[in-house]
Structures are given as structure tokens and as C-alpha cells.
């Protein structure tokens, strides 16, 4: 249980930080609303609702990216990450705690974005909601590990989208399929498979990303 206690403490730390400083979630909210407005002007007037549903996934992907870019900002300052490495018994707890915090931010942003999408464009069904939840798990699991990698490099914010987007393409396929496809369950199953594979891989390899 000590492992879960570590994870809980780390996730709570990020949420408390956000509650006090409020520097990530408002940015994500404002960004996703802005991008929905951009979509309205991107879509030609006679385009179908399917196109809008596809574009929703662009919005989700980039909102997640925005949150992930900031994910390790607090740890980077004053090399606070070294303290975390010393404090935790198992370093993968840092990954899990951070992924949970990012998941909460992303879910909160979507709690505003999805109704806004329904208001601006078209209704969303159960398939989309299931797809969004499953996709969020994958985005946060993979994204947190890649954000830690990007933090270690000189390029940082520049690097994260480059390494993140190719890995996120299967998530987009699954998500769009769950939203607009005729067999949403197949795509939801695919997303669950993706989540399982990459969460396991990220959990097992996070130790190596942090240490030498």
C-alpha cells in the first residue's frame, strides 16, 4: 500500500499546486474554447457533422499537449525532481502520480469542452464519451513519460509535440472511430488495448528516463 500512498501524495501535490497557482487548467480551458471557435471558421458552411466530430479530436489532442508541456514545469525549477527521486520508494510512482494529475486536468477541460462542442456544433453520443475517456488514459500515460523525456532535453517544449504526435496517431484513429464509426465498440476495444500496452511500457521504463 505504500506504493499507492506515494502515488496519491504525488497526485495531490500537483492538484494542490494547481489550486494555488492556477497556471495550467485555465490555459487549457481557454485554449480548447478558442480552438472550437477556430473550427467553426475552418469548416465550410455545408460540411457535415462528421467533419466537426473529427475535428473535436484535434482539439482534444492539442489541449492534452498543452497540459503535458507544463506537466514537469514545477519539477524542473531548482531541480526539484531530484528531491522526488530521493523521496519515493519506487520511481514509477512519480509517473503514475503525474499521469493522474494530468488526467484530472484534461478531464476537467473536457467537461467544459464537450458541452461547448455540443452547443456549437452537434450532439455527442455515448461512443464519443467512452472514446474520450479511454483516449485520455492513453494520452496521459504516454504523454507523461514523453514529457519527462522532453524535460531532460535542451529543446523541451519544441521536442514534445514531435515525439508525442506519432505515438498519438493510433489514439486519434480509435477516438475518431468511436465517435463516427459504425462499430464504436471495436474502436473502444482498440483504445483499451493501446492503453494497456503503452501504460505498461511507460510504467516499466519510467525509471530509466529519470536516472542515469
Amino acid at each position: 500500500m505504500t506504493y499507492l500512498a506515494d502515488v496519491g501524495a504525488l497526485a495531490r501535490k500537483d492538484l494542490t499546486l494547481e489550486l494555488r497557482a492556477r497556471d495550467t487548467l485555465p490555459a487549457m480551458l481557454l485554449f480548447v474554447l478558442s480552438i472550437l471557435v477556430v473550427f467553426h471558421f475552418v469548416l465550410p458552411p455545408e460540411s457535415s457533422d462528421l467533419a466537426a466530430k473529427g475535428l473535436l479530436w484535434v482539439g482534444i489532442l492539442f489541449t492534452a499537449l498543452l497540459g503535458l508541456t507544463r506537466a514537469f514545469a514545477a519539477e524542473r525549477e531548482d531541480d526539484a525532481i531530484d528531491g522526488l527521486i530521493l523521496a519515493t520508494r519506487d520511481r514509477s510512482a512519480i509517473w503514475l502520480g503525474k499521469a493522474l494529475a494530468v488526467f484530472v486536468f484534461l478531464a476537467l477541460a473536457e467537461l467544459v469542452a464537450l458541452p461547448a462542442f455540443a452547443l456549437f456544433f452537434t450532439d455527442i453520443g455515448g461512443g464519443t464519451i467512452a472514446g474520450v475517456v479511454l483516449a485520455d488514459v492513453g494520452l496521459c500515460a504516454v504523454g507523461t513519460l514523453l514529457a519527462a523525456m522532453a524535460t531532460a532535453s535542451r529543446a523541451r517544449e519544441l521536442l514534445l509535440p514531435l515525439i508525442f504526435l506519432p505515438l498519438a496517431i493510433p489514439i486519434v484513429v480509435g477516438g475518431v472511430g468511436a465517435s463516427v464509426g459504425s462499430h464504436p465498440a471495436t474502436y473502444a476495444g482498440f483504445l483499451a488495448l493501446y492503453d494497456a500496452i503503452f501504460a505498461l511500457l511507460a510504467w516499466a521504463s519510467f525509471d530509466y528516463v529519470l536516472t542515469e
Binding site: 523525456m149 532535453s153 515525439i163 530509466y208 542515469e212
Partner: protein, 226 residues
């Protein structure tokens, strides 16, 4: 591999390449459906398979680095992925030429393999961005290795994703019931594939030798400077 064996290996790769060209040109029959242009298949598919083999080899070396702390594995993994990207780009180019001849367009999203190679090309190009924006050292080796391992997981997952995302018009040559080819076609294909693997192996050892020499030179310079 010992350096004195490399010329022999390179010569056999060259001989295999020459015989592959000969077998493809003279032994393999003209395809009844697509005519002469189908012969690009004997290069396109072996190059693609060799590219997978190189990515797999790179991931294997990455695993060796993380697991056994094999010091030489980092450079070997990098060289394999570097060559894999070059072979992957060749796959994209030959595939594009074949698409133009068969389907009349330079790029078709309906071809699973081409789209997969585009995704992999983007993914492994970012590998270089990652690798060269981190200071050389154990940290960089770890990050590169983890990224390379993500790559081999991405290959089947992306393939499944692309299959799911569209209807299929790409000719599927390898089916579960065995290859859909005549004996001579299969022979040409095998010779060509062996040639590509030998070529990849030669390039791998040449690049590795060069990189090791570079490293050695750098170490010697540091010794001299201090």
C-alpha cells in the same frame, strides 16, 4: 564482427545484390495482372521487411542496454535505427513509384503499409531530434533506448489502427494460407530479400566501425589535451 571480415561480408552483399537484380530481371515471370511494373515488388517489399528488421534490431540492442547495461549497445541501437530510417525512406519512395504506376497517384492513403511507414518515419525522425538535443552520456543512452522500445510497440499498434481506419485495396501478397506467388516469383523475392539483409548488415557494420573510430579519436584527443 572482426574488421578484417568486413570486406568479405561486403563482397558477398554485393554479389547477392547483383544476383538479385539478375533473378528479378530474367527468372521471375512477368506478372499477368500488372505487367513489368510489378517487378518493383521485389525491391519494395524486401526493403520494407529489412527496415522492420533494423528497427527490431535497434529495439533489441536498446533492451540489452537497459537490461544488461551493455555499453556498446547504445551506439549499436542508434546505428540500426539510423539505417532503418534510411530503408524506411526508400520504402516510401519505391512504394510511391509503385502507387503512381498501379493506381495513378503518387500517394494513396488506402495503402496500409505506406501509411504505416509514414508514421514510423515521423516517429523515428523524432528519435534523432530527441537524441541530439540531450547531452551525450548515460542519460541520453537511457532516453534513446526507452524511445526505441516504444517504437517496436508502436509498429503493430499503428498497423492495427491503420487497418481499422479504412477499407483495403492494397494487394495482400502474404496470406495465412502461405504466399500467393509462383515458385519462381518466390525465389526472386527470397534472393532479393537476402540481398537487402546483407546490404543492411554491411552498412550497419561500416557505420558502426566509423562511429567507434570517431569515439576512440575523441577519447584520445581528451587524453592528449589533459
Amino acid at each position: 564482427m572482426r574488421p578484417d571480415r568486413l570486406p568479405v561480408f561486403a563482397a558477398s552483399a554485393l554479389a547477392l545484390m547483383a544476383s538479385a537484380v539478375a533473378v528479378v530481371a530474367y527468372v521471375a515471370p512477368i506478372d499477368a495482372d500488372q505487367g513489368f511494373s510489378q517487378k518493383i515488388f521485389y525491391f519494395h517489399v524486401p526493403v520494407a521487411l529489412t527496415s522492420y528488421a533494423l528497427f527490431g534490431w535497434g529495439a533489441w540492442k536498446a533492451l540489452r542496454h537497459l537490461w544488461k547495461r551493455d555499453e556498446r549497445a547504445d551506439l549499436e541501437s542508434y546505428v540500426a535505427i539510423h539505417l532503418g530510417v534510411i530503408f524506411g525512406l526508400t520504402t516510401l519512395l519505391t512504394g510511391s513509384i509503385w502507387a503512381k504506376i498501379s493506381w495513378g497517384r503518387w500517394w494513396v492513403w488506402s495503402s496500409d503499409q505506406l501509411v504505416l511507414f509514414l508514421v514510423l518515419f515521423l516517429f523515428y525522425s523524432a528519435y534523432f531530434m530527441l537524441r541530439f538535443s540531450v547531452e551525450p552520456g548515460p542519460r541520453r543512452a537511457n532516453l534513446s533506448a526507452v524511445y526505441a522500445l516504444f517504437g517496436v510497440a508502436l509498429i503493430p499498434v499503428s498497423f492495427l489502427a491503420i487497418r481499422l481506419s479504412k477499407d483495403i485495396i492494397h494487394p495482400v501478397v502474404f496470406k495465412s494460407s502461405g504466399p500467393d506467388m509462383s515458385g519462381k516469383m518466390f525465389l526472386a523475392f527470397c534472393v532479393s530479400w537476402a540481398a537487402m539483409l546483407a546490404l543492411a548488415g554491411t552498412l550497419y557494420h561500416v557505420e558502426l566501425a566509423g562511429k567507434r573510430l570517431d569515439q576512440r579519436l575523441k577519447e584520445l584527443r581528451e587524453v592528449l589535451a589533459s
